[in-house]
Amino acid sequence: MSTTQERAAAEKRQGLAKAGADYIDDRFGSSPFLRSAMDKIFPDHWSFMVGEIAMYCFVVLIVTGIYLALFYVPSSQIVVYHGSYAPLDGQRMSLAYESVLNISFHVRFGLIMRQVHHWAAVVFMAAIAFHMCRVFFTGAFRKPREVNWTIGLTLLTCVMLEGFSGYSLPDDLLSGTGLRVVYSIIESIPLIGTKLAFELWGGPFPGTSLIPRLFVLHEFLFPALLVGLLSAHLAILWRQKHTDFPGPGKTETNIRGSRFFPQYMLKGGAMLFLTAAVLFGLGGLVQINPIWLYGPYQPYNDSAASQPDWYVGWLDGSLRLFPHWEFRSWGYEIANPFFPGILIPGILFGVMYAWPLIDAKIYKDHVAHNLLDRPRDKPFRTAVGCAALTFFSVLTMASGSDVLGNDWHISYELIIEGLQILVFVGPILAFLIAYRVCIQLQRTGNMIIKKPIGGIIVRGGDGAYHTLGDDHAGDAHGAHGADLPVGANGHGNGNGNGHHDGNGHHDGNGHSVAEPEPAPVAVDGGGPGEDRSTP
């Protein structure tokens, strides 16, 4: 209902936009690119936002990190503290530690920046872990996205290294103890371990070279890697377009969601601000890494309850649970930390890197996919994922063995011995339970109502197809309308093929079909409708 005046103003604005577009296009010929970028459609699902949260954590980390770098002094030189934190007055400490105390107590707004930086790192890793689980359990890593899975895993590794190097910079007692353990792990590598440790630390532990070197790694090398890899990750995502869950009107060759401009540009910006809101809230209100309570690092000192940040916990737990084995022959030995600190993580990450290949082999699936699996429809994969998560969880729990023992009034020996059993039994149990739950969910078609994806069809014993939960499936359209933001439906502009098909099952992708008699082994997990390539 625009008035003539409004219309004239709109035309004037369009004229200006045209002039701007012409200026750019005359020089870069970029109109098709810009148009397709603004037209770009991102599917709407909350779980797709978690990777974005990770990215915004990175933004917050860069901004707060640059600020902290302006005050931090990367030096192991020993000084006597006479700063504003009275309890440490007169103590000998490194310049690095002193500078972090100054950031915390002397620099106005310094403590909040430090705590936001640390919280952002912790949330960053959590968001990445969640994002990775989402990609794994829904099969988003399948062709054509295997390369991005690999890049994502490398990003995860770099973020862990970046996180650990940053955590170690304050040179406090807790982080110094962590470095001591890492030194021993590196030292334990056969053949090259001692030399490698000497290269990194510039000699025997602790030396005076590591802190400045860590600073270079934390400030320059790892962030540069992260920026490069993240750019590749996003460019590939952009090129391949986002995956989506199956649903009404969705096929392998179309994409349903909101435009990049204006919807996602604004919502993405909003996500950045909301992530920042949470991180600044945490950084201001919830204390993290109070290094003044730990004290400066002394090689001869450490304390009970020495736990690393959560994302390194599984490694620490691995060191606690691994038996006291050490292998020695012909005068050479493979030292104990090598097995839990290098070998086990190496195998785990090897399997994770290879998973797209393994998965394709298991499911004999070599075709491209844009629509996601529901975890229940791939029971074997889901069960493997649950087993892996359980394994990591038990190890993480093990890294708190002394704290748990203290809290629960159980001896730490009992906790460690229990967890040594649980680390094997837990994943097996998790596998079996997850597998069973998947099959059961397939059979009952339970929980369709909340997220209708177009009805579930089952082929009965007589070979005939029938729809599970018919009454709900019939609702699929209405529920879907409520589920998405105000859609085209509400305005009756009829983007309707397949859309108004309440059961939505014959949409050609077959994703919504469950198997009638779930096969006992996952190699056969494909029901009549499960995606798989022709042999």
Partner: protein, 371 residues
């Protein structure tokens, strides 16, 4: 993708076309009908799975001016919160800073900004729920394009492959030269010359506590422990002392099992009221200082991974991941009554490594036994 003249698009001049007019406005027929807004290449057939006639210009309060006005006010309210937080932060800064208040104001400020953007996009802007083409299952190119690429590759590769000698030589040269480029990295650390096996303990050197004061046997109470360092003038916290920290334990009358080859390594008779033994404080698992002492069981416990050492049995590991005993330091008392070392350790202290000797010469640190 190159721009081609569409049926609906106007001729594009050198930046000055007069004829663009209202057809550029979103929602115009030209906008709605152009397949390129739906991911469809110009000239390609309209795919079955992309509905015709979608109108993504609609927004939530499209037909409801009063609702739209209210939505606008909601956005404005959110941003007002941000504005007030900004002013509040300035005030906090001037007042000297207060971390909790800063956190609250930052959180509210960013939150207001973010929620405002969400509401703005949700209620007042179009672009929701559009179905477009992906332009195929993948972005695979046409077969002819791939053939062209392979041909271009072959243009160079084939002639290269015809000179296998050069290819092999290049491989060798790059390997050798590449390795030589790593030498600058090798400068990062010194050569490994048995330095792992050496501590600063020597014959006759006094044990000092962390303040640098020499220690007498009487300074360690019964069932107590004390961390000591070789008296070299270095600060106990300095890197040079990191391998040398030793924990002295007064076992009181506990039955310490003396090994035949270590008969005079402790101070005071076993079973007397004061018997003091000294062990390396560096855990043989991952090198943490073994800082906890359970005196009732005479166990040293490493706080890092709970390796537990039974002191009475020569600090044998009885629980946890530590694979070896803690190294024992031979002790004595000098003429003035202070505790001294009889020599350095006769084995490397701390965690294992590839070429760790199992015995070293306590006077030179040189390896004497490897297996």
């Amino acid at each position: 993708m190159t721009t081609t003249e569409g049926t609906h698009s106007r001729p594009v001049g050198d930046g000055a076309s007069e004829d663009w007019g209202p057809s550029l406005l979103p929602g115009s027929e030209e906008y709605l009908e152009d397949p390129r807004h739906y991911g469809i290449e110009h000239g390609a057939p309209w795919p079955e799975d992309v509905p015709h006639g979608q109108n993504d210009m609609h927004w939530r309060y499209d037909d409801d001016p009063r609702g739209a006005r209210r939505a606008e006010l909601r956005v404005a309210a959110c941003w007002t919160v941000t504005l007030l937080c900004g002013i509040g932060l300035a005030w906090v800064y001037v007042a000297g800073g207060q971390t909790q208040v800063e956190g609250g104001l930052f959180a509210l400020g960013f939150g207001g900004l973010g929620v405002g953007f969400v509401l703005w996009a949700r209620d007042l802007l179009p672009g929701h729920d559009v179905i477009a083409s992906r332009g195929g299952l993948t972005h695979a190119s046409e077969e002819s394009d791939r053939r062209l690429a392979v041909q271009s590759l072959g243009r160079g590769l084939e002639p290269m492959a015809r000179r296998p000698f050069l290819a092999k030589m290049l491989g060798g040269v790059l390997t050798v030269f590449g390795i030589s480029l790593l030498f600058p990295l090798a400068s990062l650390g010194p050569a490994v010359d048995g330095q792992f096996a050496v501590t600063a303990w020597r014959r006759g050197i006094r044990a000092v506590n962390e303040d640098g004061d020499p220690v007498r046997p009487g300074d360690i109470e019964a069932n107590g422990i004390l961390t000591v360092f070789p008296n070299t003038g270095e600060d106990p916290g300095s890197p040079a002392m990191a391998q040398s920290s030793v924990v002295l334990i007064n076992l009181a009358s506990a039955p310490f099992e003396v090994r035949p080859d270590r008969k005079d390594w402790h101070i005071g008779a076993v079973g007397s009221q004061s018997c003091i033994v000294g062990f390396s404080k560096i855990c043989t698992h991952a090198g943490c200082p073994v800082s906890l002492y359970n005196w009732s069981a005479h166990e040293l416990i490493c706080p890092c991974h709970q390796s537990t050492f039974r002191v009475l049995e020569d600090c044998k590991p009885i629980f946890g991941p530590a694979p070896r005993n803690l190294a024992q330091l031979p002790l004595a008392v000098d003429d003035e009554g202070y505790i001294i070392a009889r020599s350095d350790f006769n084995e490397p202290v701390g965690p294992g490594y590839w070429n760790r000797p199992i015995r070293v010469n306590p006077n030179t640190g040189a390896a004497v036994e490897y297996s």
